[in-house]
Symmetry: C2
Subunit: 140 residues, 2 copies
DNA sequence: CAGCAGTTTAGAATTGATCTAGACTGATTC
DNA sequence: GAATCAGTCTAGATCAATTCTAAACTGCTG
């Protein structure tokens, strides 16, 4: 047992380099957790727990640093749906979200499934940076 | 100087009674600040400051209590746009928002100025509780 | 392999919000 | 109007998420 890691580091290493981020032990490990498991929406706390379970002792401060660096590098996108807690989205393409309030869980809505037929012009002197559509759902 | 207050208490008193909330000194004062100045988007901290400036010493705990009671009574609506801070909206009609990120300020978009032409069905077993559209803007 | 900018980290600090338990008060009853 | 009491208010403690700090560490480059 235990030869090479289940998942290769090469692709995420490449992503970090492209983003101009030094591929440190912690960043590599976190990038692998985040980017080799399909689209994800994680909180800092969740990622921290996962890292520790995967035997990667990372401090919470580094989790926050890394999440923000990845976000600023365009590898992640921050989504705010609840006061007091941020979610980080590995899907950086144009899309929107269901938010399951009881569970605190985000789910993608493909970008083409929400059409904003009409959108007002931004107040003069301002430009639109991003449009977020949050569809809040609950068990029925 | 100082006869009757600039703004009458009667109308807000009426609103409180209708909502089944006992019209206490603090609730009356806060309701007057909130509801007799047009549509507003305030944080707890902002409302607290305003109250103190208006010579109405209210504790921060009461500010939070009141904001939540008003929200649950349908007099206010909570809007989440930033991690770590909630805004309370005196406009409870169906509408959406510009959010000026640099300033931390919300601005109404009339409900009919955003049309969601297409909206996906909610995941089975769930129902839509509310749809929030946040248009994030910045100075250009 | 020396040097150093960039990175990580433990722990303290900050922030917005909530909780607690006791004091207060608006409404109701006599 | 005084007594009563559920509902309300408040100071202060507490909490959860996040950020900050300053010192140790580590990936590069020369
Ligand atoms: Mn950031
Ligand atoms: Mn609430
Ligand atoms: Zn997403
Ligand atoms: Zn509004």
């Amino acid at each position: 047992m235990s030869g090479m890691p289940q998942r290769p580091y090469a692709p995420v290493l490449e992503r970090l380099k492209e983003a101009g981020l030094r591929p440190t032990r912690q960043r590599l490990a976190l990038a692998r957790i985040l980017f080799t498991n399909g689209d994800r929406h994680v909180t800092a706390e969740q990622l921290h727990d996962e890292a520790l379970k995967a035997e990667i002792p990372v401090s919470l401060a580094t989790i926050y640093n890394t999440l923000h660096q990845f976000t600023h590098a365009g590898l992640l996108r921050e989504v705010v749906v609840e006061p007091g807690r941020s979610y980080f989205d590995t899907n950086t393409s144009d899309h929107h979200h269901f938010f399951h309030e009881q569970v605190g869980q985000l789910e993608d809505i493909p970008g083409d499934q929400v059409r904003l037929a009409e959108l007002p012009a931004p107040p003069s002197g301002t430009a639109i940076r991003r449009v977020d559509v949050i569809v809040r759902i609950r068990p029925s």
